[in-house]
Point group: C2
Chain length 340, copies 2
């Protein structure tokens, strides 16, 4: 109930009583509507401008009588993953996985013992590893995550996700996803949208579970990738980056992979800036959305200074471009599945 | 029928007889459905081993009682385009389009007047252009097809296809497609398959029309691509190749784009060799198919020596790997739509 988020604000006894009455009517009204047309498609979204902007947009572009009508084949929606569909703090899950791969590969790579990045990672000192610069860290991650067939790598990904737990939330990473976004994906799908993930993370670390968790099949997952070669028998992972699907790479990834401009894009960081620019430019109605992580109590609070998921330029650009900033604190009644 | 998977286990005579009775009812019911629900799904395919191999395969992998059952999410079918879904003689349509772009760009590029490849193309001497080597020709094509936004390029593609005609068939290129393959795509779709194009041609030259002609939406078209950069406003085409989706590039393109191994692949040339190898390797039932162009009267006859669509190694490998060689002459009753 939205009224609980008002706790702590000044309210008279009367206002409090009135809000309970209103809440009762809203609940009754919602139940009434639900009994006619089915259930509320976005129960974890609080009433407010963010939720309303989504519903207005969807109603408009799916209404054949509207000048903004979009046929189903062109209802493309793209979602960033880290920080938009699931948790990205205290670090990208992708990194947590790849760092574990570095540790697992260390015995086969004695030369790493002199590598300051490796030494920092081995001591669980991510800050120290990052302090060496982004490139040496990426190089090490890419090396440790290459040299095997894609099938063997896939097994490793699945095993890791089956046992790894988020360090503070103490739940599987695939349950550290946002309940309101699961509802939004489902709502869009029910309205004929094609949902895609467009993530800076690698495709291989997402595809094994996105269909079960998000209803997004492997072929609709766009992401960064390492080089792959076919050796006549197997597809082998190469120790080099092939494509970085982040920042200005996201519109390119969308074009290469989807081949159509989205009409809705949802991100949360400056890595999504160009995806939102691209999506919200051009004729017809378009919707750009940003998750704002402002809920230290239920999730994490960060924006302009974060090493992961920094939201700075995109936050400044949002009002100028009419992007909707979704407050985790105010707009989401529930953050994670299964725990109201 | 679950009972069929018990074959080999110990069962009484009575149980066996009962299962045959049930099977009989199922068969009778299916026949009844066919007479109600319609028509032969592959009317342009002649009765014979090629047609039968397709129907047997589809029946098997969609039968929940079969040990070879494949859930719909994994029913991935990949089709080459040139020579498999449409005509590739006397040259790839892709080339015909790109050469027209060279001619259109020539006034802006006076330096080409000294380029032997350009001179040959300007004189409609493709053989002469190819005689200079593949790379100089590709370089010129890539240059002429870059320097504009993807939207402007898309308009050029659409305009070209709206007016261009196949030189000998005298019909639009989008009608120089194979009727039996349109039926196969539709049949597979009706059985829960996801059809993809995996072509050596560029994605941009296919995506504008594949949904209307093949029922394959843009995001299911995998192909070669030029470099693209996002300049903050537009996606701009760069004068360089980004990815060559041919030969050993096809399994890589499949992995990058689809993220699952296909269970059916259809090609017609050595450029499809590795796609068929990749598709037909591994557990479960798999189907590899090759169009053999042996019908000089109704289409073209070529294989081991052709400059476009050379079928040599793959033809030798077909019997060893149980790939089905589809004779255009014997297996296809009708070649093109609208003309029996």
């Amino acid at each position: 109930m939205a009224i609980f988020s008002q706790a702590g604000s000044r309210r008279s006894w009367l206002k409090g009583a009135a809000s309970w009455l209103v809440a009762g009517f809203v609940a009754w009204g919602a139940a009434g509507c639900a009994s006619l047309s089915g259930t509320d498609p976005l129960p974890s979204w609080a009433d407010g401008p963010a939720r309303q902007s989504i519903i207005d947009f969807v109603n408009d572009v799916t209404n054949e009588a509207s000048p903004n009508y979009v046929p189903p084949a062109q209802r493309i929606a793209t979602f960033d993953n880290d920080g938009t569909l699931w948790v990205e703090q205290p670090m990208y899950t992708q990194f947590a996985f790849m760092i574990d791969q570095v540790k697992a590969a260390a015995p086969r790579n004695p030369q790493w013992q002199d590598n300051p990045v490796y030494k920092a990672l081995a001591a669980n000192d991510l800050k120290g590893a990052l302090a060496q610069g982004e490139k040496p860290l990426l190089d090490l991650l890419v090396q440790a995550n290459s040299g095997m067939s894609v099938e063997d790598y896939d097994k490793t990904v699945r095993q890791w996700f089956a046992t790894a737990r988020h360090p503070t939330l103490k739940r599987p990473y695939t349950e550290a996803v946002y309940q309101p976004q699961l509802e939004l994906l489902s709502y869009l799908r029910s309205k004929g949208f094609k949902n895609f993930i467009v993530s800076g993370g690698t495709m291989e670390a997402m595809r094994p579970w996105t269909e079960a968790v998000y209803g997004i099949p492997p072929e609709r997952v766009v992401g960064s990738s390492q080089g792959i070669v076919y050796d006549g028998t197997s597809l082998m992972r190469q120790p080099k980056l092939h494509f970085v699907d982040d920042g200005p790479g996201k519109p390119v990834g969308i074009y290469m992979h989807i081949g159509q401009q989205p009409i809705l894009a949802f991100g949360n960081s400056d890595g999504d800036l160009q995806m939102l620019q691209y999506t919200t430019t051009g004729p017809g109605r378009r919707l750009g959305l940003l998750v704002h992580h402002d809920d230290a109590e239920r999730e994490f609070a960060y924006d302009r200074q974060s090493p992961f998921g920094k939201l700075d330029k995109a936050l400044d650009e949002a009002p100028k471009r009419n992007w909707v900033v979704v407050s985790m604190k105010k707009d989401w009644k529930q953050i994670f599945p299964g725990k109201p």
